[in-house]
């Protein structure tokens, strides 16, 4: 980690006195900086962030997310992205700018229950806006949807993608990770699929354990899946 020691904090814990510039999950109470969540502190050029270890996904522009269509009206689809708010996917995203509600039927393209890979366009808290216009974005036809805590996503990806690559190579599975903690796993071999799912669950449960990457490797190799 960085050269400054990082501390584990709980809501209400004082991080420091004085007011360095406020970052995420930190508030000023009187003259003290206080954490608002369970997490660990990270010093970034004198400003203190608290990296949350729990909580729903809060959308950030450009994040890749996996979502599930939960409803639609004639103008847009409403998408569950594991956030406090449902995301909106406007019909014009698929039908184009000359989209016409009377002519273009949304349910022909995406129906309730469909799983999509999308990108956050706008994270205004009224309703996050997403798009499926882009390479590899759009409806996901095949695979198993696994849900983990968004706080564990960096751990599942690993340093430079090391953890996720290790799981993919060992099992032959293809894994798509959304920043919102939703993950799609597909694999031609049933065995590989079940092993990959087990590995993902293991990372989620033991995210804070040291040498997790080695532990996961051992688990994947132990049952003879290569």
């Amino acid at each position: 980690m960085s050269q400054n020691s990082n501390h584990f904090v709980l809501p209400g814990d004082v991080i420091s006195n004085g007011s360095s510039s406020l970052k995420q999950n930190v508030i000023l109470e009187g003259d003290k900086l206080v954490s608002t969540t369970i997490g660990f502190t990270e010093n970034n050029d004198g400003a203190v962030d608290v990296i949350a270890l729990t909580g729903l996904y809060t959308s950030e522009v450009d994040d890749l997310v996996i979502g599930k269509i939960v409803s639609h009206n004639s103008l847009s689809w409403e998408v569950n992205i594991n956030s406090s708010y449902r995301a909106m996917l406007p019909a014009s995203d698929i039908f184009g700018k000359d989209y016409s509600p009377s002519r273009d039927d949304l349910s022909l393209k995406l129906i309730i229950g469909d799983i999509i890979l999308a990108r956050i366009v706008n994270s205004d808290s009224r309703r996050p806006l997403i798009t499926i216009n882009g390479q590899n974005l759009g409806k996901i036809d095949d695979g198993e949807l696994i849900k983990i805590s968004p706080a564990k996503v960096p751990r599942l990806i690993g340093k430079h993608g090391s953890m996720i690559q290790s799981i993919e190579e060992s099992t032959g599975a293809s894994i798509t990770i959304g920043q919102n903690g939703w993950v799609v796993v597909s694999c031609e071999k049933t065995n590989g699929l079940l092993k990959a799912i087990m590995a993902i669950r293991m990372v989620e449960e033991q995210a804070h354990v040291v040498d997790l990457t080695d532990k996961v490797k051992k688990m994947l190799q132990s049952n003879g899946v290569e």
């Binding site: 584990f8 709980l10 809501p11 209400g12 814990d13 004082v14 999950n25 508030i27 109470e29 206080v34 608002t36 969540t37 369970i38 949350a52 270890l53 729990t54 909580g55 729903l56 406090s84 708010y85 449902r86 808290s125 706080a151 449960e205 033991q206 995210a207 804070h208 354990v209 040291v210």
Partner: protein
């Protein structure tokens, strides 16, 4: 309740209470965070004979929609006792007492939770009393706070609860069921330990102004002890190495 001894000694000549405690001693408290799979956050507390489960969902969409607040998220609390939680089987339908306690606990948590950044949402806290033994609202409040933190709801402080009271003309900490029934005063307290603010306060009984002051101070001491247990529960789940969370 039928069959209870009427000559129960609340405080003997050695200053020992009916359950063996000293006057400034709380009952045994244990808390475990993250005990449910489906809830976003959860906690289980045993506070003396009280056994209480807390589950949190949210911030999430509000139904019915007319209850949503365009400026801030709202907090909803439901305190509910199971039929088998008390001496005489309780009807599952909500009683007036449960409705009042739900409101009081909600108002004890509101100063701590920061829902201004989640307009038009609701955060739901469900408190299920599996076994009641005096002081359920303080125990439930303490569990609720841990469950909210476990769910990642932003909070400016945790909230801890403990009751103080009076029995046999003596101020006591953490009133148990017998002391509540046969004693002279019962004062449940909810407290934000870092901000030093009391967010829940009720009283049954009679206290002189001086007793009132001392009773609150005693209760706050108890709250701080509960706070240590809350921190321990969250540390165990999130910060301990080698175990599964």
């Amino acid at each position: 309740m039928g069959g209870r001894k009427t000559d129960l000694v609340l405080l003997d000549k050695n200053g020992i209470r009916c359950d063996g405690r000293k006057v400034d001693e709380t009952r045994k408290v244990t808390i475990k965070a993250g005990v449910l799979k489906n809830a976003s956050g959860s906690a289980y507390i045993e506070f003396g004979g009280n056994k209480i489960l807390a589950g949190v969902f949210g911030p999430r969409d509000v139904h019915p929609k007319h209850m949503a607040d365009p400026d801030t998220g709202i907090l909803r609390v439901r305190y509910h006792m199971e039929p088998f939680s008390v001496g005489e089987r309780k009807n599952p339908a909500p009683s007036r007492r449960e409705i009042e306690i739900s409101k009081v606990v909600k108002e004890a948590l509101e100063p701590a939770v920061m829902l201004e950044n989640f307009p038009r949402t609701a955060t739901d806290v469900f408190l299920e009393i599996l076994q009641a033994d005096g002081g359920t609202r303080c125990a439930a409040l303490s569990a609720a706070s841990v469950a909210l933190a476990d769910a990642g709801i932003p909070m400016r402080d945790l909230v801890c609860g403990c009751a103080a009271g009076k029995a046999a003309d003596t101020l006591i900490l953490d009133v148990n069921n017998e002391e509540d029934q046969a004693g002279q005063a019962d004062m449940p307290i909810g407290y934000m330990p870092n901000l030093g603010k009391i967010t829940l306060l009720q009283l049954d009984g009679v206290l002189t102004p001086d007793e009132f002051k001392k009773c609150i101070e005693l209760g706050v001491v108890g709250c701080k002890q509960v706070y240590e247990i809350q921190k321990k529960a969250l540390h165990e789940k999130y910060f301990s190495n080698g175990g599964s969370s």
